[in-house]
Symmetry: C2
Subunit: 384 residues, 2 copies
């Protein structure tokens, strides 16, 4: 198949910031790309060959969109999987596969998959309703504190809460969920595994994540992670095994906990470019976005090595501001060594909304970490 | 001025590959960008906020387009300068300035400028018509061989010829031209100087260019150049002096000859992102395209240092092929270490047409050079 300057069409479900960064790569390789998104002001409205307006959860919309393309991928998991399954049966190449998305979309299924596949993950219980948790607490089957996770449609800290008492429990949404043992961990790590259909596999270097204590959003992604080489190797091995278990094609971002006694437990996975890989745009030989395109088109995978150390800082809306966005002090951070802002192009900010990210590249990762903190303390996403 | 997510509009005259690579940066920073180009299939048709169809040489078209934007720049020199001058008078920020473009657009004026500014350049004579060259030859004022350059609208080897005899002379176009002494040079070097309006200046590392012997197009751009540090310093000094002489804002690419006795002579300049800086996308902390945007918007300039060695190979149409383009063996080159193709998205190939470029990044520049040759020998731009 000649993807370049031919009649080939790539479809992407979702037109947010991940889609926007994928479009940078499809433009670079001149790959004809169609986007489906329900937002008339989606970041991907510019940069695609075709922008289709419609719901990602609607069977017909996704099916009709998918029938027009040769390869279909996603930039968000919450899409109509039945439509993908039908498209696969009718010969459209869909990566990630509908089967994989069905497992990942539901956190309870995802956890059960790890257990079935003998992949390390924190102990958990599954509940059809939150009310069942109360029963479990009463009869001693579950103890405070634990981590509650909504089974469906949770992302970026939404749908995840540490539950310490009955009070906390009463505030939770009512639907299907899991209760996971609260693991005291030293560190959160992630590895992005890339694999193409012919079976070539490459992992990006292990990254270390620092989370915002309240919003439960990543504050810094640090690559390479400042950990022992044996731990890095172990994390890579587990990530590779996870990707194999899914027989995954494309990118699989595997988020893991490093426990106090150096055990590694899988937290969750994302079958697409991921927040923990944004720094690869500047810091690595191949960016995660280019690699995703290479993988799903069955092209040779690029080198995943670092050219230099990279740190990513999320640009999220400041608390107390909702409305037309302003990036306060952006010029000041552009004056810092090796700093590149990425602005996603969302018009309205609100507290903790992801509005962009900043990459800090430096040969010395500790120097990069210092600059990252300066960046964090300088720029502020507010409204007019 | 808040450029990010505001009512600010950037205008670019020209919608070719340089514009396309500028759009990658304006998308990254979410800067609203309008393009003017006469080609309905220009590479910039996708990725801009507004695409305007019209002639870059037409006064009214350029003027009306310019009136709608806050800052106006170019990606090609051949634009209507009178319109730019009027726009400047009416308060539109135009970089490069009309005065600079007027000097650069005409190679005779450009050469005289170097002489006036005491900048080193090869000796030359100016002729209003080619017929005057014959007279000069007859009366002994000029001797074969010499380099003929059309004064107007020459680029990428068009409008430049080595003239060795009367036969060669008769084949030349008739208009204004210069005859330059044929300098036996060791090497061709280039330095891209970036400067913003507040006077901050940064030079990209010196690159070394290898030309295709017949087409007079760059075959490899090698960064950093494999030359003595003192030579590099000298080249940087001359490039800086040239940029100062023009009081230039934006990028100024200064192409130079390194003579057998280590003299440096300015060949010509380009007041915009340049073919000799494409490898900066992958190899440098800040790409020339991001730097151009930073400079013309008076933002702080980014670091110009190399993250790793970078080599750029032009992808030009193979001889004997005209028509719908195919990139033969593109998958093979994507399998080589540190190789990234850039496809400009032109539908039709023809001999020596610039269709794309390939970047090779490697910590070891000699290793990169080997891979670059492999790339060059593997990929072929042909037609169906």
């Amino acid at each position: 198949m000649n993807y370049f300057s031919s009649n080939f069409k790539l479809g992407i479900l979702g037109g947010g910031q991940l889609g926007k960064m994928l479009l940078t790569e499809t433009r670079k390789l001149d790959i004809y790309t169609c986007i489906l998104d329900s937002n008339t002001e989606a970041p991907c409205k510019i940069g695609s060959n075709e922008f289709h307006l419609g719901s990602l959860m609607d069977f017909d919309t996704v099916y009709q969109f998918g029938k027009q393309v040769d390869v279909l991928t996603i930039e968000i998991e919450n899409v109509n999987i039945d439509a993908l399954e039908k498209l696969e049966k009718e010969g459209v190449t869909v990566y990630p596969a509908s089967k994989t998305l069905r497992i990942i979309q539901n956190k309870a299924k995802q956890k059960l998959f790890y257990v079935d596949e003998n992949l390390p993950t924190a102990p958990f219980s599954r509940f059809a309703y939150v009310s069942e948790i109360e029963d479990a607490i009463e009869n001693g089957g579950l103890k405070f504190p634990f981590v509650w996770k909504a089974a469906q449609f949770g992302y970026d800290g939404n749908g995840v809460k540490v539950v310490r008492n009955l009070e906390d429990l009463k505030k939770l949404p009512k639907g299907e969920c899991i209760a996971e043992e609260l693991i005291p961990f030293k560190n959160e790590l992630a590895v992005i595994v890339s694999r193409n259909a012919k079976g070539e596999v490459k992992t990006f270097p292990v990254v270390e994540m620092e989370f915002h204590p309240e919003a439960n959003q990543v504050e810094y992604v640090i690559c390479p992670a400042r950990i022992e080489p044996e731990i890095a190797k172990k994390a890579e091995r587990i990530a590779l095994k996870t990707s194999e278990a899914f027989k995954h094609v494309g990118l699989l971002a595997v988020e893991m906990f490093l426990t106090q006694d150096n055990e590694i437990l899988i937290n969750e996975v994302a079958p697409r470019p991921h927040n923990s890989g944004h720094q690869t745009i500047e810091a690595n030989y191949t960016s995660q976005f280019e690699q995703h395109i290479r993988a799903i088109l069955n092209l040779p995978l690029g080198s995943t090595a670092n050219k230099a150390g990279g740190i990513m800082v999320n640009l999220v809306g400041a608390e107390g501001y909702t409305g037309n966005v302003i990036y306060q002090n952006i010029e000041e951070i552009m004056n810092m060594e090796g700093v590149t802002p990425h602005i996603y192009g969302k018009k309205e900010t609100r507290p903790f909304r992801k509005m962009g990210h900043v990459t800090i590249v430096n040969k010395d990762i500790n120097e990069a970490r210092k600059i990252a903190e300066e960046v964090k303390n300088t720029i502020k996403v507010i409204s007019k």
